[in-house]
């Protein structure tokens, strides 16, 4: 074991970790925006809303993230129409391709989590809202969604960790995220074990912080619930 190499390259690894966090944060925001309408479509009574959302979720959860990221980054360039379009400056960049692929992927998983949470809201509360004369939209905004977000929180915490780990795939499309940076350093130093283990420690540290943050958030959002502490 060569600790000096690890110490010498730590600044670079941390630089990679910053890109990892950036990718995760942006993907989660875009994915979350996708997930809400998808989840509402999934619980809709209209089949033409429910069915496309189900197909979307099924396809993105049933295929590997690696295939999805390759389809976006390498695949789209196959079409002349894409290369000629105004979107090409974006779709050419591995950075945006990674975010698009990650967001589409985490959007599907998050939609499923939200759907489960919406359906887990006690029927009595929904009926009470109706009895108060609230419209479907109002009861959704005031009663169902706030309730569902809290129910979804633990599962969503897991999804955030999975997204963090999935973001390592950005390294396969030349991005210098934490894993990508580690692979670059290894190409120069040829110390794969030391550098990969060091990168692993950084991932573990980030995971630990995320887990603690979600624990705090759960406690805060559940502070009105008896016995939640």
């Amino acid at each position: 074991m060569n600790v000096d190499v690890v110490i010498a390259n730590m600044p670079k690894l941390l630089q990679g970790a910053v890109l990892t966090l950036e990718l995760v944060a942006l993907s989660l925001v875009v994915g979350g925006l996708l997930a809400l309408p998808l989840a509402l479509m999934r619980v809709s009574g209209r089949w033409w809303l429910r069915w496309p959302a189900y197909a979307y979720v099924f396809v993105f959860r049933g295929t590997p993230l690696l295939v999805q990221i390759f389809l976006v980054y390498y695949g789209l360039g196959q079409f002349e129409a894409v290369r000629a379009s105004v979107l090409w400056p974006i779709l050419r960049e591995p950075y945006w391709c990674a975010i698009i692929a990650f967001a589409l992927n985490t959007g599907a998983y998050t939609a499923e989590i939200l759907r489960g949470a919406i359906q887990a809201v006690p029927v009595g509360e929904v009926e009470a809202a109706k009895a108060f004369g609230m419209s479907r939209a109002l009861s959704l905004r005031r009663i169902i969604l706030p309730r569902a977000f809290r129910i979804a929180l633990p599962a969503y915490g897991n999804e955030v960790i999975l997204m963090l780990k999935g973001s390592a795939l950005a390294s396969t499309i030349t991005l210098l995220d934490l894993t990508g940076m580690a692979r670059t350093i290894i190409a120069r130093t040829y110390m794969p074990v030391e550098i990969f283990l060091a990168a692993g420690l950084v991932y573990l540290a980030i995971t630990f912080v995320f887990v603690q943050l979600f624990r705090l958030l759960e406690r805060r959002l559940g502070r009105h619930v008896v016995g939640a502490r």
């Binding site: 396809v59 690696l66 079409f79 963090l164």
Partner: protein
Amino acid sequence: MIDLAGFGEQLLLGAAVTVQLALAALMVGLVLGLAGAVARLSGVRAARALAATYTTVVRGLPELLVVLIIYFGSSRLLTAIGESLGHDGFVELSPFAAGVVALGLTFGAYATEIFRGAILAIPKGQIEAAHAFGMGRVLTFRRIVLPQLWRIALPGLGNLFLVLLKDTSLVSVIGLEELMRKAQIATGFTREPFTFYLAAATLYLLMTIVAMAVLHRAERAAGRGLPQVRGR
């Protein structure tokens, strides 16, 4: 229909490797998971700590990194062992073996938690009854706990297997010619990445559908003795 330019057969061969890899890693992972769960619930503090460290560390690392660490780390380790035995020269695990170990370790870490939950879900009265019948701890585990474990753990393990099936694509990064790598190779020849990655995605989806159907049947079969599960 999409034109695969003669690479269709190659993709199917790759898919066969993917299935073999997934099943081999499943076997390793189930053994590790069961051992991990027993260790986590054991009275020996060192075993508990070891199992807890294993699941925490492996579940916190990206699967891609686990694959890379096992592939490069094992060659370092095996070469060192070889040298100490008087064999000089580079020794390494094949990408397939490294993939089985890496994915098995990952599956095992999650399976440990599922098995642990399942063991705890078995009513305590049954264990006490077994003890009252004069069964020892090992016999109780084999005759009472283990047969029920399967049924309780199956839904969780099924989800893990679906994740494992998709994670096999990561082993393409260390050069194993499974489905994903075959698609990459075909792309290199034909310059049609979208076509081949879409074909690969379709095959993964089909494998997922088959796995889901098998798991559904397995769950029905495992729960056939229970009135509330029947007729689902």
